[in-house]
Symmetry: C2
Subunit: 187 residues, 2 copies
């Protein structure tokens, strides 16, 4: 299962078997059942999670109990409460499993150690972070500029595989539109 992590890193920088073994030794494995929590609001955030199997969502619950989805993650994606992870504060987000999942867990301490030990891993994480930054800017522009129909179509085009696996209610919550609006658009 860890082979997809190696493939992701090697899209950015080549690795020897020994290097990958060393990198992998900084991760731990975790299995989570469907609907089980990986992280709950208020807890310390121990890890960033690389998904090797399954589908998860990170979301904020507001004072009225309404869910706003920050991100989804399926195989080959990373997920955590990044604000809390990087700043070592408690989580404001929740993460749970839409499908039974398996993840590789990387603590902040191990991430920093790997980056200090191996310049090429610092390079890998910088490149991933840059790509993530650009994806979030696109989402902001979509929230500012597009109507519900356009946002839905952009998501469908950008992440066709994700779309097939995520229930409509959750897509609506990610897009910031009502379930009714989305049903009208997708019917």
């Amino acid at each position: 299962m860890s082979e997809i992590l190696r493939q992701q890193i090697e899209k950015i920088t080549p690795l020897t078997d020994k290097e990958f073994e060393y990198i992998l030794s900084h991760f731990t494995r975790k299995k989570i059942k469907k609907h089980q929590y990986l992280l709950q609001e208020g807890e310390a955030v121990q890890n960033d999670y690389f998904v090797t199997k399954g589908l998860l969502k990170a979301y904020y619950v507001n004072q009225d109990g309404k869910e706003h989805i920050m991100q989804f993650a399926m195989e080959d994606w990373w997920i955590t409460d990044y604000q809390a992870y990087f700043n070592e504060t408690n989580a404001t987000l929740n993460i749970d499993c839409i499908e039974a999942s398996e993840v590789l867990c990387l603590s902040l301490r191990n991430r920093e150690k790997l980056c200090a030990d191996m310049h090429k891993i610092e390079h890998f994480f910088r490149k991933k972070s840059n790509a993530g930054y650009v994806a979030l800017q696109r989402r902001i522009l979509s929230l500012l500029n597009s109507n519900a129909k356009e946002r839905y179509e952009q998501l469908l085009q950008q992440y066709p595989l994700l779309f097939q696996r995520v229930p409509k209610t959750l897509i609506a919550s990610y897009l910031g539109v009502s379930r009714e609006t989305l049903s009208r658009l997708s019917s």
Copy 2:
């Protein structure tokens, strides 16, 4: 003027005079007058810009001619069309000066060269990118969850100095609210 770049890097990693001189040799300087463009939609994106003086905005103009502000940047901030810069495509954003500005320009080639030459600069840019990622996630949550009044108050609290320098019309465009709504909130 370049001293504030050194200060920013040294918040993350210490530098010798010689190292900073080497880093700075990868930047060029540019002065831009008030209302002048630093970047226009459709152009190739040559640089990331570190602001040493002044105030700029990066914005998208939609098909109806409406402006959506992606970001502001004042002294000690970075600004460009990151999607186009990192992917070496043409700009979809415009950048112009709210106040007369001076910037240090870093091409993607020089950025990658610096990061490859100096592990500590790769570290610096990774840390900056992580912080930027977290800031964008906060903005997304604010767009999904908060009403106009809350967004305005969050901005005021997060960036009090910026707020004093940016006209209300532009703040409204950044927050995705109408000028009228903002006037009602800030009066």
